[in-house]
Symmetry: C2
Subunit: 599 residues, 2 copies
Amino acid sequence: MSVLIDRRDLDFVLYELLNIEHLAQTSRYEGQDRALYEATIDAAETLAEEQFATHAAESDEHEPKLEDGKVKLIPAIKQATDAYVEAGFMGMSMDAEAGGMQLPWTIAQACAAYFCAANIATIAYPFITIAAANLLSKFGSEAQKARYLAPLVEGRFFGTMVLSEPQAGSSLADIRTRAVPTDDGHYLITGNKMWTSAADHELSENIIHMVLAKIPGGPPGVKGISLFIVPKFLVNDDGSLGERNDVRVAGLNHKMGYRGTVNAVFNLGEQGGAKAWLLGEAHQGLSYMFHMMNEARVGVGLGAVALGYSGYLHSLKYARERPQGCHPGNKDPASPQVPIVEHADIRRLLLAQKAAVEGGLALALYCAQLIDIERTTEDAAYRDRLNLLLDLLTPIVKSWPSEFCLEANKHAIQILGGYGYTRDYPLERLYRDNRLNPIHEGAHGIHGLDLLGRKVSMRGGAALEALFVEMEATLIQARALDSLSEAVAQLEQAREQLAATTATLGALRDGGQAPRAMANAGIYLDVFGHVVIGWLWLRMAVIATREAAETRGSEQDFYSGKLQAAQYFFRYELAKVGERLALLAAADDTCLTMQDRWF
Amino acid sequence: MSVLIDRRDLDFVLYELLNIEHLAQTSRYEGQDRALYEATIDAAETLAEEQFATHAAESDEHEPKLEDGKVKLIPAIKQATDAYVEAGFMGMSMDAEAGGMQLPWTIAQACAAYFCAANIATIAYPFITIAAANLLSKFGSEAQKARYLAPLVEGRFFGTMVLSEPQAGSSLADIRTRAVPTDDGHYLITGNKMWTSAADHELSENIIHMVLAKIPGGPPGVKGISLFIVPKFLVNDDGSLGERNDVRVAGLNHKMGYRGTVNAVFNLGEQGGAKAWLLGEAHQGLSYMFHMMNEARVGVGLGAVALGYSGYLHSLKYARERPQGCHPGNKDPASPQVPIVEHADIRRLLLAQKAAVEGGLALALYCAQLIDIERTTEDAAYRDRLNLLLDLLTPIVKSWPSEFCLEANKHAIQILGGYGYTRDYPLERLYRDNRLNPIHEGAHGIHGLDLLGRKVSMRGGAALEALFVEMEATLIQARALDSLSEAVAQLEQAREQLAATTATLGALRDGGQAPRAMANAGIYLDVFGHVVIGWLWLRMAVIATREAAETRGSEQDFYSGKLQAAQYFFRYELAKVGERLALLAAADDTCLTMQDRWF
C-alpha cells in the first residue's frame, strides 16, 4: 500500500472527474494520450518513493547550515534533485521550444502531488526554479531567454523568488530594496530581503534570482515595483560563468517545518550593488508576479493536499494494523482486541481526512485544468470565463487545503496516539510542514480580503456567476439521482445563502461601510471553500453513484467509499455553513469594534 | 508586559469569579488569606520567568540523551527543579503533616499555570513527582509513607507513573507486566513499559516508580491490575539508599514537542525481577489511579490553557508592535503602516485566542476549586453533588482546552506570519507542546466515550442535573441584565438542546443501539465543552457588566475586554452548537457504517 497518494483516486480525478485526455485534442498537447500521462505519473511516483521519501526524516533532522558563508545541505537532497533533473521533470510542463516536455500543467501537478507527499522540503528547490523559469519565459527578452532559460530547464541553474523584506511581508508595497540604473544597461541593487527560499545552495552551478526592487523616482506603493534578474554568478555571452555577484545569505531562518528548504535573510549590494537586469518593463514587477501567482497558489494548495493525503494514508495503514480495545458493548475482558479501524471515532477521524484530502485534490487539479484549458482554448469568450473562474478560485485553492488538510494531519497524529507524536513516524513532520501553508504565498487573512473585497464583485459579480453556472451543471446531473436528493437540497441552499450573503456584504460595502463588510472576510473565505468543496464532492458522487451500481469487488468498494465520504462531507462539514453564513450576513462587528486596550 | 499568564485575569478568576478566599474559612485552610495566595503566586510567577522560561528554547533544541545507560539533560533543567524544590513548591498543596504547605489545590494550579506557560517540559518532572506522592499519601501504609513520602515532598526523590505498554495505551486492561510475590514481602516485577515520562534522570537522588502490573492468578482485564512501588534505588530502613533495582531505560522517545521531558521505553526485571512493594490492596490498582485521575486531568487541561495563554500574550504583544498595511479603504500608498492589531482579521484571531484561553482558565480553576471544596466541606450531600459535577466535567476540562487552546496556538503563529513559523519565537514550540494534550491522560475519543457513555447518565443523570442547576444560577443573575439578554437566550437554548439530545442518545442506547448512540461521542465531547465554556463566559460577563459600569481607565478596559470576548464566544463559537447537536440527535451513522474496505 502506497502511503503517498492513492493512485486509484488520482486516476479517478484525472480521468473520470476531469476527463483530462481531452486536453490532447488541443494543438498544444496534440499527440499526447492517457498512456503518456500514466507513464509520466508512474515515473514521478517511483522517483518520489525512491529518492525523495527516503531522506525526508533525515533532511528534517539535519537542516541546512551556513558555514563560511556557504549553505550546506545533506547530500541526499542533491542526489534527489539530480535524479529529478535527469528524468526531465524540470521542463515537464514547459514549451518544447524551450527544451521542455510541454505536458499539461495538470499532469505536472499530479506528479507534484507525489513529490510533495514524499518530501515537500526537497521538491521546493526544483519548484521555485520552475516558477522562475516561467517568469523568464513569459516576460524575458529573447536575449535574456537565450542566456538563462535553457540552463534553468536543464537544471544546470536553479532559480529563486526574492520578494519579502523584514518590514514588508504581506504588504509588498512597502519594500525598500532599490535598483539604480547604470550606463551599462544593467542596474545596481541594494537591499535586505527576508524569507528567501533556496537563496543559496550547491545543487546547481548557478542560481538565478528574480528580485523585486524599486527604481528611484518611480511611483509610490505597488505601482513602483520592478522585477529584476540577478544571477549569483554573472553569465558571459558564451554561457560560461563570470564573476560572483554581490548577493549574500546573511543568516538562515530556523523553521518549524519545511526544514530541508533553505530559507534565508538575503542581502544584495553590500559591496556596492548587485548587478541586475530589468525583466520586462519598469514598474510592472508586481503585475508580472501576479501572472504567476495563480499557478503558485494552486501549487501551494496542492502541496497542502499532498501533506494531508500522505498523513491520511499513513494513519489508515496504522488503524488497520493496530489492535486496541474491543467493540462497544463487549464487556468480556477475555475477548481479543480489534484493529482500531473498527472503532467509530477512528473511522470519523479517517473520514474527516478522506473528505478533506480527496476534496482538496479534486479542487487543486480542477484549478490546474482551468489553467491548461485557458492556455489552449481558441474560444476567447470561454477563455475569459475560465479566467474569471480561476481568479475566483485562486484564494480558495490556496487556502482551503492549507486550513483543512492541516486539520487532517492533526487527525492523523491522533489516530496513532503517542506514536503519532514521535519522530519515528512521519505524521508530526507532515503536520509541521503543513503549518507553513496558511502563511506563505499570501497569508490566510489576505486571501479572505482578496476574495470578499475583490474577486466576488469583480466585473459585476461575473466570476461568482460563472461558478454558480458550473454548480448548476452538477446539480442538474445530481437531481436525476434519488440517492443524492439530500445533498442536492443542501448544496442548493448553501449556494443561495452564499449568494444572498455576498450581496448583503457588497451592499454594505458600497453603502460606505467597507470596514464592517470586510471584518469577517477570513470566515467568508473558509465558508466559501466549504461550498466549493461540497460542489466537487457532489460532482464526484454523481460519478460514483453510477459506477457503484455497475462495478463489483474492489472497484465497487472504491466508489462506495467515495459516496460515504461525500455523505460525510455534506452531513458533517457542509452542514456547518448555514450558521456561518448567518453570522456573516449579520455583518457582526465584534472583531471590528474590539479595542486594542481591551485586550 | 508578561507573556506567560495575564495576572489581572488570573486574579479575576480566583477572587471575583471563584471567591477563592472563602476556602480559608474551612478547617483545612484555616488562617490562610488572599495575601498569602498572592505572595505564593508572585513567587511562582517570578520563578517561572527567571528559571523556567529562560531555558525553554534550549531544552527543546537539546533533548534528553541516553549515554551509557544514563539519561542526560541540559543543566538548566536541574537548576530550575532545584529552585522549585528549594522554594517549597513541591509540597505546596500537600498536607502539613507530610511536610507540605497545605495550600488549596486551586492556588497550586494557579501557580502551575505560570510554570506550564514558561516551560511545560521542565515542570513535568516535579508535577509527576507530586502525583506519585499524592498516591502514596492516600493509599500507602504508614511504613511506606515513613520510607518514601518525606523525601518526595522534600524533592530528594522524584516520582513517576508507569502505566502504558507498547500494546496497551488507551486500553490498560491489556497490560502484560507481571508481579510475582516472594516470601520476603515484596514482589518481583517483569515487563516492558512504554511512554514513561521522567523514567530516568539525575535531578534527584532516587526515583520512586508507581507501576501498574498484574499478579498472576488475578481476575482478567482491569480488575486484575495492581499498583506497586518500585524504587530506582532500594531504600534502607534508615533512609539511606541501597542497591540499584532491576529497572532500565531501554530507549528514549523522540517527540514532536515536550522535548525536555524524558519519555522512555522502560524495562523492568531484565535481570530477574524488579523489587516492588504493593501499594494498598491487590487488584485495586486501577481504582487507585482513578482517584488521582480527576486531578491529573484538570492538570492536563490547565497545561493546555497555559500553553495557549502564553501564545496569546506573545501574539498580542507582536500585533501591537508590528506595523504592516493600512486601514481598509485607505488607498493612499504614501500613508504610514498601522500596527497589525488595527486589522479586523488580526483582532478576530486575538479574540478567538482570548475567548479560548480565558474561558479555559476559568474552567480549569473552577474544577480545581471543586476538588478543594470536596476535600474540605463537611456537608456530605454537598460533597456528593460536587463530586458528581467534577466527574462530569473531568473529560471536558481535560479535552476542551486540549483542542481549542491548541487551535489558539495555531492562531498565534498566524499573527506572526513567517516569524511565528520560526524557532526565534516560542509560538511554534507552544503549538508543538500543546499537540500532546489531546493524546495523553486518555485520548480525546476515549473522553468522548466516557462522557456520553457513562458520565451524563450515571445515577440517573444526576451529574448533568447538577451542572444544569449551576447554569441556572448564572442565568438567574444574567436575566437581570438587559445587555446580556442575547447571551441568556442562546445559553438557554443550548442547554435545552443539549438535554434533549442527551436524552435521545440515551434512549437509543438503552433501546439496544449502543454503537449508533455512541458513534459521534467525539463530537458530543466538543459540543458539551462549548456549552460549559459558554456558561462560564456568561458568569464572567455578569461580573464584568457590573464592574465595567463602576470602574474607569484600565480597570474598565479590562472588563470591557471581558464583555467583548464573551460576545465573541457566544456569537462566533456557541452559535455553532445548534447544528452540531442536531447532527448528534439524528444519531448519524455515516462513521459507524463506513467499511474498512471502502477507505
